[in-house]
Subunit: 320 residues, 2 copies
DNA sequence: AATTTTCCTGCAACCGATTGCACTAGCTTC
DNA sequence: GAAGCTAGTGCAATCGGTTGCAGGAAAATT
């Protein structure tokens, strides 16, 4: 390993000058700066993260808490990780995963918390370093999330535009903020159009939605589009309709929410509200880094726009 | 932050004694050890990872390379992460994620590499720290993986036992070692029973398997069980059979491979060869830690046993 | 009783970086 | 021309641990 001192010798300066070239380049004469740069390059100098961490009292570690049970974790988490990891890597931060299986040991400079339920509030608020959440919350905690309300509004508007005359919402039972927001988006759109609303709520497993369709097939209204709070639910609906050889998308439309999952499985592919998961990871990380830099100062919230990914589970008349 | 020196003062010893209590407890008198312990406890002492790292020339970081495209990554990766993270956490190691989106910056003490294709060989072999792979390989590199051959053997044997008279293998096109191994398991079992073999190969996307069924429906042999190289493929088969209202599991059986994916989606649930992913994560991490401790000495390979998770896509006669 | 051995503990140096302060030029300024 | 500034650079101390060696007391050997 080449150290600051090695570079210093090579460039015929003190190691202080080298350090300054890295951290306060404006304080160093251009001439010296150049020779230091070439020395660093020739020796392939890489700063020792641990030494830096020690003197700066920074661990250069960000902990990612995944509070959800990993068994039921959505696959799109991988995209989130990629986004976070990319952004942290830019500033020499490393990403430490803390799951319900590992212990929280050692220090860190900040936290990103995902999958927080209302029961985790107390615990999260006790953390002594800057925190950013992935996912809406009604506390004063900084977070990044998809604009969930807008997502279901987009879905609802699209369904109406495609001529479905009855729009129903398939929601999730558990009462977390993002679930409310998705329901709210549907409700807002429907009320704007002065249309009657119908909401079904299941736990987030496809088979319940499927069973609902199975049990109520004869009562289903023609030309219905199901706006769903998740791809899993949408998938259950589609499965249920398939049993009766229902014509999708001609007679029934289905719109999911999330947008990663189904692209790998469903056939025909689902129309869905696509969350910008990777970008959300990037933003979470960036927000946290800024917060750390600004000494824990609140960064507010950041809601990214979802996009409607149109596929085979809804009619798709191009005309406006 | 309380330091070694703080603890030392409190316990009326030098900081050396405290350090030894932690690292070489046998060298310290019981009496002193006790008072040091209580001092550590009272002050809630946590060792400074960076300082330790600096003097020991260890970063305490393990890098996990995920070489696969994150977009198509299997959801079970989350379980792998959980397993790795748990094991690393035990020894104060932190897990740094390196994806195709982030850069590989800063040092580390070792690598776990997943999703390696044969095209990555050269690159991986150039790494200068201990490496353990997740996934079979034909090089001399240490790895952990499911016993893939055994997995498809179990699936095949079970299908036969349940009275399916024609067993066909739905495999994956790309030629990586685990794919060969899964095919081999099927072939071995069939040849042991002196039965004719049929192998189809697709890329690992469900729709191709589905389209195959769709296109060849009239030629399918009755009482066939499809032993598949992945849950995705199995899912495609099931989807295809559903189109024709085929009776599963009465007339056709389907067995998948992986065992995480489908539990969230498919209905009826698929019988599948369940990989012990979490445990594989633990073993990978443990193997790497041992390898680091033993100065890079090769640790060989570790193949864990899969289990057959029996569900609704195969007949299930309990009798022996 | 004197000497050796063993066991335990503390001092000082060091890992590789950064910060505060002192110092040397070279330039202004009066 | 002496005093005062300003840049630019280096020295020494520091972060929180660990290792090598020295030293003191008790136990074992002679």
């Amino acid at each position: 390993m080449t150290t600051l001192t090695d570079v210093a010798k090579r460039a015929n300066v003190s190691k202080m000058t080298v350090s300054r070239v890295i951290n306060h380049p404006e304080q160093v004469r251009d001439e010296l700066k150049q020779s230091v740069f070439t020395a660093m390059h020739e020796l392939n100098y890489r700063p020792n993260v641990a030494a830096k961490a020690l003197v700066n009292n920074r661990t250069q570690i960000i902990k990612l808490f995944i509070l959800e049970d990993m068994d039921t974790t959505e696959p799109y988490y991988m995209n989130l990780l990629a986004g976070i990891s990319k952004e942290l890597g830019k500033e020499q931060y490393s990403l430490q995963l803390v799951t319900n299986h590992s212990f929280d040991i050692g220090g860190c400079d900040g936290y990103i918390v995902t999958g927080m339920r209302h029961t985790d509030f107390e615990w999260v608020q006790r953390l002594t370093r800057p925190v950013v959440l992935f996912g809406e919350n009604r506390l004063e905690l900084d977070y990044c999330d998809t604009n969930n309300t807008l997502g279901t509004q987009m879905a609802t508007e699209y369904a109406l535009k495609q001529g479905y005359t009855n729009i129903e919402f398939i929601g999730i039972n558990v009462k977390e903020p993002f679930e409310y927001s998705r329901e709210a988006g549907y409700l807002m759109s429907m009320q704007n159009h002065q249309l009657p609303t119908t909401i079904h709520r299941f736990s987030n497993h496809s088979h319940l939605a499927m069973e609902y369709i199975e049990a109520n097939w004869s009562d289903l209204k023609a030309n219905t589009c199901y706006v769903c709070a998740s791809d899993r639910l949408a998938f259950g609906i589609e499965k249920g309709l398939t049993i009766f050889n229902a014509r999708v998308p001609a007679d029934f439309g289905i719109i999911g929410f999330d947008g990663v999952f189904l692209n790998q499985v469903a056939t025909p592919k689902l129309t869905t509200v696509q969350q910008p998961i990777f970008e959300l990871g990037v933003r979470c990380a960036r927000m946290l880094l800024t917060k750390i830099e600004k000494d824990g100062q609140s960064q507010g919230i950041e809601q990214l726009l979802p996009t409607l990914s149109i596929a085979g589970s809804t009619r798709n008349d191009q005309g406006d």
